[in-house]
Every structure is written in C-alpha cells, then in structure tokens.
C-alpha cells in the first residue's frame, strides 16, 4: 500500500521474548517447599532476546532442534502469539501491539504454511471453497468470475489440475495437499511467507516437488520467506541466510554459504556434523555431552554451556551477545570472541 516502503527492512525483530506460563491458576502456583507453602510461577522461556532483521526477497531459514523456539518465532511474527517483551516491525511499522482488526490488512501480505497440510485444510470444504475463501475475504470487490479465475490460475501455478477443484482434501496425496496449502497462501498475493516445516511430513521425491514449487514462487513473485526447519540439507539449498537457535537464543546468524563453509559456534558445528551424508560409511559427528536443558529453568550464562566442550567460568555466568565476525556472520559465543576454539 505504501510505495516508499521498500527502503525499510521487511521485518525486524527487536529483543523479542516469549514466555509461556505453566501455572496459570492461583492454586497451581502454590508449591510445598521445605515444609512451607510458597507461591511460585513457573514459565517456559521459549524465545529469549531475539533480534534480527530481514531484507526483501531473502529466504531466512530458522533452524534448531525441538524446543529451541523456532516455531514460536514464526508464530510471533505471524501474530498468532503475543510477545512477552520486545517489538516486531513489519515494513517499518510496529505490528506486535496491533489489534486483531488492525492486523487484517497485514494478513494479506503475510501468509503462513504449516507442517501438516491435512490439519490446515478444512476437511469439509472442497479445494475450490478452501481456495476461494481467502480471495473473497481479502478482495471484496472481486466478482465471482474474477475469484474463479484467480483460483484457477493459482492451482495451475502449483501444478494441481483445476478440474480437481470440486474434490475434498482427503482425496489428495500428502504432497498434493501441501501444494494446495501453498496455493492457498499464494491466492492473496502475499509478499512475505512464513513456512513452518512445510516439507517435513513428505517423502523425499515429494519434498523436491514442493521445494521447487516454493523456489519458483519466490522467483516469480519476489516472495520473502521465513523458513522454519530442522533439516539442514534443505537449508543449504533453500536459504539465503540462516539463523541457528538454541533454547530460544540466537547462536549464530550468517549467510548460508558462510555458515556451511565455516560454522563458528560450537553448537552449529555439532549440528552440521550430525547430518548423515551419502558419502559417509559410518556415523561421524561431534558428540555433545548431556541433553538439552529444560526451558523452564534456563541455565545461567550461555544457554549452551552445559553441553559445550569449550565452556569455561565466564560461559557459566555471562550470557554471550551476538558479535559481528570478520566474514559478516553474527556469533554469540565467548570462546569464539576470545579465539580459544581450536579449529
């Protein structure tokens, strides 16, 4: 709507935080501690002080293991969750404090694709109905034939035969359903697409089809993607930049090529080494000690220190801040900063 918008970053997250309360009611907050009744509220710290910005036309991949907060970040950006602290700016405009009503205009620009296409398509709506709904909603002026043309064009663009429009979601295969879910996101001509593990539930040959479709949509429509995934081989292929999250904090943020060529954070290194490669004849990876700590009681200092082979006293007390590296990447690690990692 604003032409001058292009000089703004399309998305900016400033010190974003999200905590989920575990003990909601008064009674749940009562705990017995050493024979005394105390009030105590536990919280899951899902996203901690995440700041990043995205340029138009890039594909930022958010990676990390289960519980690292990557889906929460996606949901915060899409406005499906409210941040506990921090700001989200879209196109130079602060959006996290907007009402649902004010967000509606933005929904047209920002669409989301989820992991399970069967859950995101209404089983009692035909594909035609499912695809028409957003078009009608966001383009009230469009006539009946206009809507129909639009739906047909989008179906063709994702490789689903428009004559199947009268069918229901269960009549399609998983790959087709995901393509329809993508079509549904594209019907309103968004500029920003958040994809939360869009191909994780699909088979390898189908994954390639869906990824290609998303790449085509990117080139043809100039889309900007925020791509949430745990699959690093996909990241290398799809992303222009990558942000690695661990326990809700940024470990490393870098251009894809830089990250894969010279990962710096010890966690990024371990993560990359764990991906099984076709040429491997035995598992070879950096073994991390222990397990991911619970996000209820975050470790003090660096969130990764309990599993890091390079952790020292400073790591245990002081949380590292993301620091710019000579090659442009941002790394939050004291050991990298002090140059005491042996590479």
């Amino acid at each position: 709507m604003k032409d001058m918008a292009s000089d703004h970053k399309i998305l900016e997250l400033k010190n974003l935080e999200k905590r989920f309360e575990l003990d909601k009611g008064f009674l749940e907050t009562l705990k017995l501690r050493g024979g005394r009744l105390v009030r105590e509220k536990r919280e899951v710290h899902a996203v901690n002080n995440v700041s990043l910005s995205m340029e138009r036309g890039e594909a930022l991949c958010v990676v990390g293991e289960s519980g690292c907060g990557k889906s929460t970040v996606a949901r915060l950006v899409a406005g499906l969750l409210e941040p506990s602290a921090g700001e989200i700016h879209y196109d130079g405009e602060r959006i996290d404090n907007k009402s649902r009503h004010e967000m509606l205009g933005l929904r047209k620009k920002m669409q989301m694709i989820f992991q399970n296409p069967y859950a995101s398509l209404n089983p009692r709506m035909t594909i035609q109905q499912a695809l028409e709904e957003p078009v009608r909603y966001h383009n009230p002026g469009l006539g009946r034939s206009g809507v129909k043309d639009k739906v047909e064009a989008v179906m063709k663009s994702v490789g689903v035969d428009p004559s199947w429009a009268t069918r229901y979601p269960h009549e399609f295969s998983g790959g087709q359903r995901q393509r329809i879910a993508i079509a549904r996101a594209l019907t309103v001509d968004p500029e920003f697409v958040i994809a939360d593990e869009p191909i994780s539930a699909l088979d390898v040959s189908i994954q390639a089809q869906v990824l290609n479709l998303m790449l085509e949509a990117k080139d043809e429509r100039g889309l900007t993607y925020m791509f949430i995934t745990h699959d690093l081989s996909v990241v290398q292929h799809f992303g222009t930049r990558v942000v690695v999250l661990y326990l809700g904090s940024i470990c490393e943020l870098a251009d894809t090529a830089t990250l894969f060529e010279s990962p710096k954070h010890p966690y990024t290194k371990a993560l990359l080494s764990a991906v099984p490669q076709l040429q491997d004849d035995k598992p070879s990876h950096i073994r991390l000690k222990g397990e991911i700590p619970t996000p209820i009681n975050l470790p003090t200092g660096c969130p990764f220190h309990s599993r890091c082979a390079f952790a020292d006293k400073r790591c245990m007390v002081e949380k590292p801040r993301p620091m710019q590296q000579p090659d442009g990447s941002l790394v939050a690690c004291h050991a990298v900063e002090e140059d005491r990692l042996d590479t």
């Binding site: 293991e65 390898v204 390639a208 397990e291």
Partner: protein
C-alpha cells in the same frame, strides 16, 4: 547358512471389497551379523516387511505365500506359541516412536524384568542386574535410578536408548529397526545410530534398518534393498547402490536430495506419486513416473535380475547404463 532367508514373500490385505497386495514376491538373505538397509518412500512396503519378519501382521493383513527361514526354521509355519519363544528373544524390533513402545504405566525396571522373565528363569534381582548392565551399555547415566522411573520422566533420546537396551536384553541374533530415529533430533539421531552400529558390531548382531534416509543407510549398512510399490527394485552393496544406482527410481531418489543440486537451483524431482496398493499398474510399477520408460515397460513386469554387482528390476538397465557411460566419457 544365512541367518535369515526370505523367499517369494507376499503379504496381502483383505479389504472389504478387494484384496490388495502390499508385498509382492520379495526374496533376500541376511548373513549372521550383517547389516541390511531397506529404503523407500511411504507405502513402499518397508514396514510391512519388518512386521512380516516378526510374524506380527494382524488382520486384515496376512502372509499369502512364501517363506521366512530364520536359522533354518520357517517362521511362516510357526504357531503363535513357537513364535513367542523367538520374538523379543532371538529377534527383536525397535519402532519409530518410543512412547508407543514403552508401557506408560510401568517403570523401566518392571518392563525390562518382565521381558527377561518371559524368556528365562531368573529372579527379580538377577533380572535387574542384567537390566542395569544393558542400560550401561547404551550409555544411560545412573541406570540404577532409571529402573524406578516411568517413561514420561525421560527425554526422547533417553527413551529410544532404553528401547535399544530392551531389544538387546536377551542377546538377539537379529534386530529389526523401523525408522528408529525419525522422531528424534539430528544430534540425538547421530548418537543413537552410532550406538546401534557399535552394539551390532561388538555383539555380532544382524540388523535390518528400515528408513527413508539414504544418508543413514550409507552410514549404517553393508547392503541395501530399495523398495517401490511392494517390490524390491534394486538390491546390492550399499556403497555401489549409492555411488552408482542402476534403477531409475533409485537414481531419482538420490538425485532428488538437496545436496545433489547447487544451492538455489531447481531440485531434480521425480514427477507424480507412488501408486496406491489398489492401483499398481501392470508392467513396471515405476513406469508412469519413469522418464526412460518404453512400451515394453508398461506391459511386462521386470524381474529382479543380476546386473554387474547389484540386482535390478528394470528392462532398460542395459541401455540406460550404456547411455550413462557414454555421457560420462563424452
């Protein structure tokens, strides 16, 4: 003599209005201590193969024909009572989701002791001692305490380690692992796979690893079967299959991986979907998706035949191989 010898095994499912074939005349052997990978996409018949080997198929599925010789005895002909002495004892299975495999209302200790006592005359204390040894083998910290814990108190990676410990309890000769790490994170997957490999090698346990991940197969197995629509379409040494696949489907599967294409380029996708079991085409089941298919492929089913060092079910394998070699030398 091989540990396991499967001949012409067919599994069918009796549906209300028709009977569909889920496994179609598959044959393979597994030597003692050998590690075999079964790869393919959902619906190819990988898991059904695993279930059939354990004789765990339940209605509407049934073994229609064929034999499964485990150390010379045919499992297909065994009674349920005979089978029970083998299952969990001499051959064990590891499933994808540890939370489904473990009983949520029994402690880890109870489940391990129960398994041991079902097959051996042991006191509870003796059984617990064995359980602790096995838990230590899979690197579970403070195993004595874990015995008293319930599955929900443990993390996903820890649960899957316990499943492996239970599978190893009775020193089986064969472990069938069906997507054992699909539900886990990559770093934990790497740990579990390394552990499984180490245990199989040190105890000379045979392994059948069912997975969709070619990288995992490459790391873990010596031989590989590639399945498509209920049939084996390529079989041979893992290295050969990954480095020089002969069947167009295997090639497609490997080429579709993002690693095989330069970043940002279009991936080499295989068009279409695997046929449903009720609509497997006559001729080669892959023909409708195969860019090399000729008339012959659409009418006659290719047999699995030896080609070089591997076995391939493709009429055109000769022609395709020659064209590839020419392309490479050109």
């Amino acid at each position: 003599m091989s540990l396991l010898s499967v001949r012409d095994l067919s599994v069918k499912f009796a549906m209300r209005d028709q009977t569909v074939t889920a496994l179609n005349h598959i044959s393979f052997d597994l030597a003692k201590g050998e590690r075999l990978g079964i790869v393919g996409e959902s619906g190819a018949g990988k898991s059904i193969t695993g279930f059939a080997l354990m004789n765990l198929l339940s209605r509407p599925g049934f073994i229609d024909s064929g034999s499964i010789h485990f150390e010379g005895e045919d499992i297909v002909q065994m009674s349920e009572a005979q089978m029970r002495t083998i299952r969990g004892n001499r051959m064990a299975m590891i499933f994808q989701d540890p939370m489904v495999t473990l009983n949520p209302v029994l402690t880890i200790g109870q489940q391990m002791v129960e398994t041991l006592q079902a097959h051996r005359k042991l006191s509870k204390a003796e059984a617990e001692q064995i359980a602790i040894v096995k838990l230590r083998e899979v690197y579970i910290p403070s195993p004595e305490e874990r015995l008293g814990q319930y599955p929900h108190e443990l993390s996903g990676g820890m649960r899957q380690r316990i499943i492996i410990a239970i599978a190893l309890l009775l020193d089986p000769e064969l472990i069938i692992a069906d997507e054992p790490t699909t539900a886990l994170d990559v770093t934990i997957q790497a740990d579990i796979m390394e552990l499984l490999l180490e245990l199989c090698q040190s105890n000379k346990v045979g392994l059948i690893l069912i997975t969709h991940d070619l990288g995992v197969v490459s790391q873990m197995t010596e031989r590989t079967l590639v399945m498509y629509a209920g049939r084996i379409i390529e079989a041979g040494r893992t290295r050969e299959i990954i480095n020089d696949p002969q069947h167009p489907y295997t090639q497609g599967l490997i080429n579709a991986l993002p690693q095989q294409t330069l970043p940002g380029q279009r991936l080499k996708q295989i068009p279409g979907n695997m046929p449903g079991l009720d609509a497997v085409p006559v001729g080669c089941p892959f023909a409708p998706r195969c860019q090399f298919a000729v008339d012959h492929c659409r009418t006659t089913l290719p047999e699995l035949v030896r080609y070089g060092d591997v076995e391939v079910a493709c009429h055109e394998v000769n022609r395709l191989h020659e064209t590839r070699t020419e392309d490479q030398s050109a």
